[in-house]
């Protein structure tokens, strides 16, 4: 059965076009997807991301558990509220999911994992948690709203209780804190996002989500659908689970080497496989592609390089650049004359470093 977030009726009232997204009935856009994209790059937009799964971990050995469970090192989390982006791997080094870990106390961490992978994630986490006496508690009582854009933080802070404003104003990137929203609603505010813009992701009790959404709209935050979220994250060079990586791919092959921490003495799941692959040489790489010509790069298109074939993972039109960009998985040494097969036509593309866009502007060389 299709699941609905607390904001479902609100999206429909706004005339959103709804689609099934990993078993959830979600808004793809409310009008023009491109205008929603620009709203986030230039001002402030908000996304209902309540379909994402919040899992609270409690236990005396919860930190040890996470040192074992994920490929990035939670030892980097020293200050309460700090967050870490990481992959959770299987023994073969394949990516089970990507997630954010929040350090909320010596015996309390919070995870936010993808909606489409909820069941297998929970099963895996619970299985691994037993040996550490850690409990994993899903929080379906929460909704989540991402508010993103150069003016997003100011618009959110304006809605907070006065006593919290200065503290949330100072909240660093990739950190979270509790605060009181309109009418004293308890909020969990994280300075994170999936758009390449500054902003917050706000966890709010389910029954308060509509009120918060409406206050944000009244403050001039534009409702944006998952369509714009996808073009924004692509421009920002951020991976999408299931499209850019999955259990058959290691972080080395998915442009996620920066999230692997091979710190001494930490035996996380998948480490042996990652080390073996690195020693043998990683044969595939995730690269950015730019199409300067007209046309649109799409998922599944074949990439032709002098070192062999690859394929487009995430691809699409980038509204900020007014051209198409993509991630592709190609032979690791692929350079030079690279082309993409678009409906039988071989179109030359440039291999570039990503992100393509950051903080509203095209990156150098894009």
């Amino acid at each position: 059965m299709t699941q609905k977030t607390a904001l479902n009726a609100t999206h429909r009232e706004l005339g959103a076009r709804m689609v099934d997204f990993g078993g959830w009935d979600m808004p793809i856009s409310y009008g023009s997807q491109i205008e929603e994209h620009h709203a986030v790059r230039r001002d402030a937009g908000m996304f209902d991301v309540s379909h994402m799964t919040v899992v609270d971990l409690h236990g005396a050995r919860v930190r040890d558990f996470l040192r074992h469970l994920v490929a990035n090192s939670v030892d980097k989390l020293k200050v309460q509220g700090k967050a870490l982006y990481t992959c959770m791997l299987n023994e073969q080094g394949g990516v089970i999911d990507d997630l954010i870990v929040y350090f909320l106390g010596d015996e309390f961490f919070r995870l936010v994992v993808n909606a489409a992978t909820r069941d297998k994630d929970l099963a895996w986490i619970e299985k691994q948690a037993k040996a550490f006496d850690v409990t994993a508690q899903e929080r379906p009582d929460f909704a989540m709203i991402a508010v993103q854009g150069p003016h997003a933080r100011a618009k959110v802070i304006g809605l907070l209780h006065e006593v919290d404003r200065a503290r949330i104003e100072k909240l660093g990137r990739f950190a979270a804190a509790a605060a009181q929203g309109p009418h004293g609603v308890p909020l969990f505010i994280a300075r994170t996002g999936y758009t390449g813009e500054d902003g917050f992701e706000i966890i709010v009790p389910d029954d308060q989500a509509v009120a918060l959404w409406k206050e944000l709209a009244a403050a001039g935050v534009a409702p944006c659908g998952l369509g714009a979220r996808d073009t924004l994250r692509l421009e920002a060079g951020m991976n999408l689970y299931g499209q850019d990586m999955d259990e058959t791919v290691t972080p080395w092959e998915a442009g996620l080497a920066w999230t692997i921490s091979l710190d001494e003495g930490r035996n996380f799941i998948g480490r042996k496989a990652l080390e073996a692959q690195k020693a043998a040489g990683v044969t595939r790489a995730l690269v950015g592609l730019v199409l300067d010509d007209k046309g649109v790069l799409r998922h599944g298109q074949k990439v032709l390089t002098p070192s062999g074939e690859g394929e487009i993972l995430s691809g699409g039109f980038a509204p900020t650049l007014n051209k198409s960009v993509a991630f592709a998985r190609v032979p690791a040494d692929a350079t030079g004359n690279v082309r993409v097969d678009i409906r039988g036509r071989e179109v030359p593309v440039r291999v570039v470093k990503f992100p393509f866009v950051r903080d509203g502007k095209p990156c150098e060389g894009i």
């Binding site: 076009r17 856009s29 023009s32 491109i34 073009t231 007209k294 046309g295 649109v296 039109f317 409906r343």
Partner: protein, 133 residues
Amino acid sequence: MSASEIPGDLKFLKSHEWARVEDNGLIRVGISNHAQEQLGDLVYVELPEIGASVQAGTGAATVESVKAASDIYSPVSGEVVEVNENLADKPETINEDAYGEGWLFVVKASDRSELDELLDADAYAELIENDDH
């Protein structure tokens, strides 16, 4: 006229292309307002060459929106005599005016009886009505 109203002089394929018989007998072709709404913002249009021959019900052009690429079928067979060059720089014209400035190409029909196979405006309105439910 509101964007959702369908001009009565148009005929349609079930795949959402429209055909209009011009005063000079040529057939102008585009996609319906319903189709552009379903596709979302259009970002690229690949049109046939002038002089190309097209077959009724087969792919003659491609439109790409932020979401997907879609083949556009010609409602009638014949020769392409004009294409909408403005769409190269402004594909969003299709979103703004699907039945007017957002036309795609013009065909000199080789078999005008093919027009009788198409849906009239009322039948098309009914089709998309059922589509929505």
